[in-house]
């Protein structure tokens, strides 16, 4: 992840977990469930990430195990699109620390939800 963010440049902190690695340990489990669920029926190709907020109350370290959870906060249909807002959280069970809290607004074009 650090190399992917750095692209052609040297990674800023090659030994650290980049903050937005939360995409993997915090968002991905929720997105995988919600947006690939056939019953929900969202067309992945029409999916746009609209907004993202992260908080990192404690920093996650390489080797940590975390539990991620998510809750759908709102679903709104506007102008032929569906706006889905999720609240996500990742906790490190070893010490109970919340390592990430997030809020994601996803836009589904064509009103798939």
């Amino acid at each position: 992840m650090a190399r992917a963010i750095a692209g052609p440049d040297a990674p800023f902190e090659p030994e650290a977990v980049p903050p937005t690695y939360a995409a993997v340990y915090c968002l991905a489990p929720a997105f995988a469930q919600l947006f690939t669920d056939e019953e929900v029926g969202i067309n992945l190709a029409g999916l746009i990430h609209g907004e993202q907020a992260f908080e990192w109350p404690a920093r996650v370290r390489p080797g940590d195990t975390v539990d991620a959870s998510a809750e759908i906060i709102s679903v709104e249909d506007k102008r032929g699109m569906t706006f889905v807002t999720l609240a996500v959280e990742a906790v490190r069970p070893a010490d109970g620390a919340v390592v990430c809290k997030g809020r994601s607004m996803m836009i589904v074009r064509g009103g798939g939800a």
């Binding site: 992917a4 963010i5 052609p8 980049p18 993997v24 990430h49 907004e51 993202q52 907020a53 990192w56």
Partner: protein, 139 residues
């Protein structure tokens, strides 16, 4: 830790702008790293078929570059307490993104600075807007 963001931080201070050309190779690498292989990011033909001008970067890749810009200013990503933005315009593969920001508030009691941050593309489009970062100041 030694940081630019010490006790001398004041409202109006600006981040060193961070510019990065986001190639298709980098987008592919990010797809690998994140597990997000949505074809709008990696399949040119598919992206065009859904009305995009071509493949586009993952929003979270752009946010990662913005996070790096703030972390470089702070001296370490450990100081980054929060970051948010709106993905206003897509960033096309091969375009350059430039992340900027300025200190909007300093809470000396808490030792936290709040910055307004954003990113523009080399097409002049504001790709990341409504951006806000909170940074712990070292003393």
């Amino acid at each position: 830790m030694s940081t630019a963001a010490g006790s001398a931080v004041k409202v109006g201070d600006e981040l060193e702008p961070l510019t990065r050309v986001v190639s298709q190779e980098q987008i592919n690498a990010y797809a690998e790293a994140s597990g997000d292989f949505n074809p709008i990011h990696v399949d040119e033909e598919f992206a065009r078929s859904v009305g995009l001008p071509g493949t586009i970067a993952h929003g979270l890749l752009e946010l990662g570059i913005l996070a790096e810009a703030v972390a470089r200013w702070a001296g370490t990503s450990d100081a980054l307490l929060a970051l948010e933005c709106r993905f206003s315009k897509p960033l096309r593969a091969g375009d350059a993104i430039t992340c900027t920001g300025r200190v909007a508030a300093v809470d000396d009691a808490e030792g936290v600075a709040t910055l307004d941050v954003e990113a523009t593309s080399d097409r002049g489009e504001r790709v990341l807007t409504n951006g806000r970062a909170r940074v712990r100041l070292s003393r």
